[in-house]
Symmetry: C2
Subunit: 595 residues, 2 copies
């Protein structure tokens, strides 16, 4: 069983050296978020995660959740760990001070969330979804509703969910059927059934606040008739006191591939009282605001999975001895060499390291843009730039990093051989748990359409051009050592190609919109490798420019950057070539010809 | 839950049209294996698999195996299904007539095995491993031992295992410690513990015959001191009667990612009586003879997984309605279009279809080479050619088809979205079950070393050159329609590249043997895509030349061949580029620099 250790040196490197968080936080008015405080928070978070959250990962998988006498029971230890989590004040870290939060930056909380997800994906989803519900309430609820629900959501005494999916509609929310009947007092009564509700019901908190998409009676069909509601499991009076059940029931728990410790529920609303969030029929837009932030969180899950798998596989590769190095025995005093000597084992480990560390740099940078969006001190121009970057990069990070995170866990199993397939070592659980990240909050296919159709072509290329111009300008302005300048050339040529590729698809899509779907996933993966390479070049340059850092750490960064450009970036070539093709080979088949 | 339907039309196409099995079987003296008999066997096998084996797939996953009072109990229904399997004579299909077998070709049995594996991977492993034990006994046992053990192995009343792995040695069998003490009567007493023994103990048969690697006391260290033994669970007298326990115990069952219905055991040998197979200290060579055949079987598991995932995903893509086609509503009378209209869903389905059908063509062709090797009628020259082809293509097929089979199951989950992640639809089980095929019988990394170091470079390129020359000659001799000749050009250019790539690696390996390991997996994947493309071009040409076949079937083959050359073969480009690089970016890191 790999015992997760929060990679504090890595996290500090990205926050302090790469992103200059001291300057970033000071500019945004987070004066208390000094490097010392950041380090102290990370150390405490690491301690809590390693000692309380990580030890429950396997038991959560083995036991899963169950329903006893109508009550959802979480695995042994989850309740106690969650209580400690609340008592230590972790839920409040980046929440508004007015509701009892500590008012620290979003980006700092994301680092803690990454730790929890790496240590115990299923457990981390309980607080994770609460943050989503809070953000939605803060953005779209009125002051009275916020006053009523925020304090206990902030403290973590209550948790939250997002209720979108129904049995017949997932990606296509326009089809949803849950009904909301207006009441005389301005509230609504909700009727309908939602599925796949993560953290939907459990025994960790005394109340659960559901954010629900539903259709007000008489609303237009399709996406234009969807509204957003807050529906508590237990009713709450104006003073925030619980007054009794609210017609919200867990109908069933799903049996699923992984994240067994998280209760994935069918939630039935039987005349439950709901409160409108935002304007009627504007629920989908309200939801999307929130979903972008949630998707950054899911991207971080990909990083977390890669990190956990890397830690497990690296430790095993150093201990496990099988065969001799092809180039001759490296440790002749033992019966065999550690498998770390084998080039293909190194290929797998370096791929994991590249995803974990490069993905981390990307996700943390995106989190700084979320900080800017939330900060009252940031200029409108800075906010717009941050929003534009997030808009473009969120689908890339969500889909690419979860796909790569999954690959990293699969490689983790391969490094272990047959031992990877048995539960004992925890590697197979990482694969099963992280596969969900490629599916929820929009599948890889949906992210790819969001990127290409909505973000890139939907902005007539403006979002992409501005980002690529900024990257090119940045790299042309840097003075690079001889060892890194060929990497810059490679990156700049791929940036050029990104533009060409986009213009080609746009031209084809004019004639046939199916060309967008045909190119979309390869286009996204192309972009993902490029963005990952950009992050690695930045890390390598920063390591090169930071002689005070540990020599092995610096050299590890420089070597891995070369690995990324030599062994991963060429995959972008292949995806680019595929995205540049027309979709004829996909569309030619009639349904009957498939079989 | 996808209900598996044996793809008889596909299977017949490969056997009859592509491989001309009538001629092949007649030449080898399998006179009874006429097309009519082949079809009758396939239909019965399909019926049995669909009605008896497939319905136990989910329950096998849910229940798994357990130990009760020292006895391993298989999931509900497995015992009865296995009894029916034996009563219907399925185990005897391709077994020697002298021991009660039907003497039909190996290749015909492989088709049946593919069905079983697609329907229920865990169940299929019980008879699958028995065939391995039989083959070893036939190849290396003396006549008395064969007479004592073969009849009940052939009938299926007894099953078999392969006991290789120990806790500290998997890929590196030279490290194994299980001991064999010679006895006065010529037998041996075995002492030691084996792990990961598939079908190691169970309640399906009255006896289990273990094929065990062990070290005779005083034997040389390493691989040169390993011998092979037959060790029955219950002792058997000269008349084949059971006489009592033999010191073979199941110490524990592994908890694992998938194949829950198969008992993966720790098997302890406590002074168990064993019978030497082959010469002392030549056990590893004897095992390898057998492992090549077993690896063809595992390659077929990759095909089976892709087939099952494709069937599930295609059915769902036709039924599930989400969103409109980007090019406009295709079924405006419904609220949304079936997801089969979406190009990216088609990309996933076509990838699955390409792997299932192209992989099937490859594996069945390899099975015809096994037929040749087993046939007394084949010439020495034909046998040598078949052995050479098998030697080269087995690691490619095993690793490439299991990796692609796994990808196909993962795509199956993606087609289903969140529904793919829950147990109800069976898609996630396919992923979990088939991941083992990338690990057992040698991981992908081990296959890649076998291919590049042992087969290709170990034969000084002779095996590869002869195969590539044959393919080139074959394709240059064909008259192709205009639509297919560009595909031939593409294939020939990749064949050329295969040679160049190999010569480049050979040259680098002269200076540094680690270059072999650094290139190996990308080299294997390059070869895999090439071989898959070759099979698809053959199928396309055969479909083109067979006007009597159903029009949709033919067109489906032609379209899919174009998809393979346009969308999958470009991946070979990327793998080739990676394999052509030197290994510096892998080897530069010191252990401490990894983290």
């Amino acid at each position: 069983m790999p015992s997760y250790q929060a990679p504090l040196t890595e996290m500090r490197f990205v926050l302090h050296s790469l992103l200059d968080s001291a300057e970033h936080y000071a500019q945004l008015g987070y004066e208390e978020a000094t490097p010392d405080l950041v380090d102290a928070v990370l150390e405490e978070a690491a301690k809590f995660t390693e000692s309380v959250v990580a030890p429950l990962n396997r038991i959560g998988d083995e036991q899963g959740c169950r329903i006893e006498q109508g009550q959802v029971i979480t695995p042994t230890g989850f309740q106690d760990a969650y209580r400690q989590y609340v008592e230590a004040g972790w839920p409040t870290l980046a929440q508004p001070v007015q509701y009892g939060g500590q008012g620290l930056p979003y980006s700092l909380n994301l680092v803690c969330a990454e730790m929890q997800s790496a240590a115990n994906h299923a457990f981390a989803m309980y607080p994770g979804l609460t943050h989503g519900a809070q953000a939605t309430l803060m953005a779209h609820g009125d002051a009275a509703l916020q006053a009523r629900f925020m304090p206990k959501l902030v403290s973590g005494e209550w948790t939250g969910t997002m209720c979108l999916t129904e049995a017949h509609c997932g990606s296509d929310l326009g089809l949803l059927r849950t009904k909301a009947l207006p009441q005389a007092d301005g509230s609504y009564r909700l009727q309908g059934s939602k599925i796949f509700i993560s953290s939907g019901d459990h025994d960790l908190a005394e109340n659960i606040v559901h954010i629900v998409l539903a259709r007000i009676e008489g609303a237009p069909a399709g996406t234009k008739g969807i509204s957003l509601f807050l529906v508590p499991k237990l009713e709450v009076d104006d003073d925030g006191k619980l007054t009794g059940p609210n017609g919200v029931h867990c109908g069933a728990l799903e049996k699923k591939m992984g994240i067994h410790g998280n209760a994935t529920c069918v939630i039935n609303f039987d005349g439950a009282t709901g409160h409108l969030l935002g304007a009627p029929n504007r629920g989908l837009q309200a939801m999307f605001t929130f979903m972008n932030a949630a998707r950054v969180g899911v991207a971080a899950e990909g990083v977390a999975a890669a990190e956990a798998a890397f830690q497990g596989a690296l430790a095993y590769a150093r201990e496990r001895r099988q065969m001799r190095a092809l180039s001759g025995a490296k440790e002749p005093e033992h019966a065999a060499d550690p498998i770390l000597v084998h080039p293909d084992v190194r290929r797998m480990l370096l791929t994991q390291k590249a995803v974990a560390e490069g993905g981390r740099a990307l996700v943390y940078e995106m989190a700084t843009w979320v900080d800017i969006g939330k900060s009252p001190s940031a200029s409108a121009e800075a906010k717009q730039r941050a929003a534009d970057r997030l808009s473009l990069l969120t689908p890339i990070a969500k889909a690419f990093l979860t796909e790569m995170g999954f690959e990293a866990t699969s490689l983790g199993v391969q490094v272990f051989g047959g031992h990877g397939y048995v539960a004992e070592w925890g590697m197979e659980q990482l694969m099963r748990d992280t596969k969900i990240s490629c599916l929820y909050e929009g599948t890889t296919g949906i992210q790819a359409l969001d990127l290409l159709a909505r973000k890139v072509l939907g902005s007539q290329g403006a979002l992409l051009e501005s980002y690529c111009a900024e990257l090119a300008q940045y790299w042309l302005a840097q003075t690079l050592p001889d060892t890194l300048s060929p990497l810059r050339d490679q990156l700049l040529s791929q940036l050029q190609r990104w533009g060409d590729l986009t213009r080609g698809i746009a031209a084809r899509a004019q004639a046939n919109p199916d060309e967008i779907g045909a190119a979309s996933v390869d286009y996204l993966m192309f972009a993902g490798y490029l963005v990952l390479a950009h992050q690695w070049l930045r890390m390598a340059l920063t390591a090169h420019q930071s002689p005070a850092l540990d020599a092995d750490f610096r050299q590890g960064k420089l070597h891995t950057a070369h690995f990324v450009f030599k062994r991963l970036l060429p995959r972008a070539e292949a995806h680019g070539a595929l995205a540049a093709q027309n979709g004829d080979s996909l569309m030619a088949m009639s349904s009957a010809q498939f079989r």
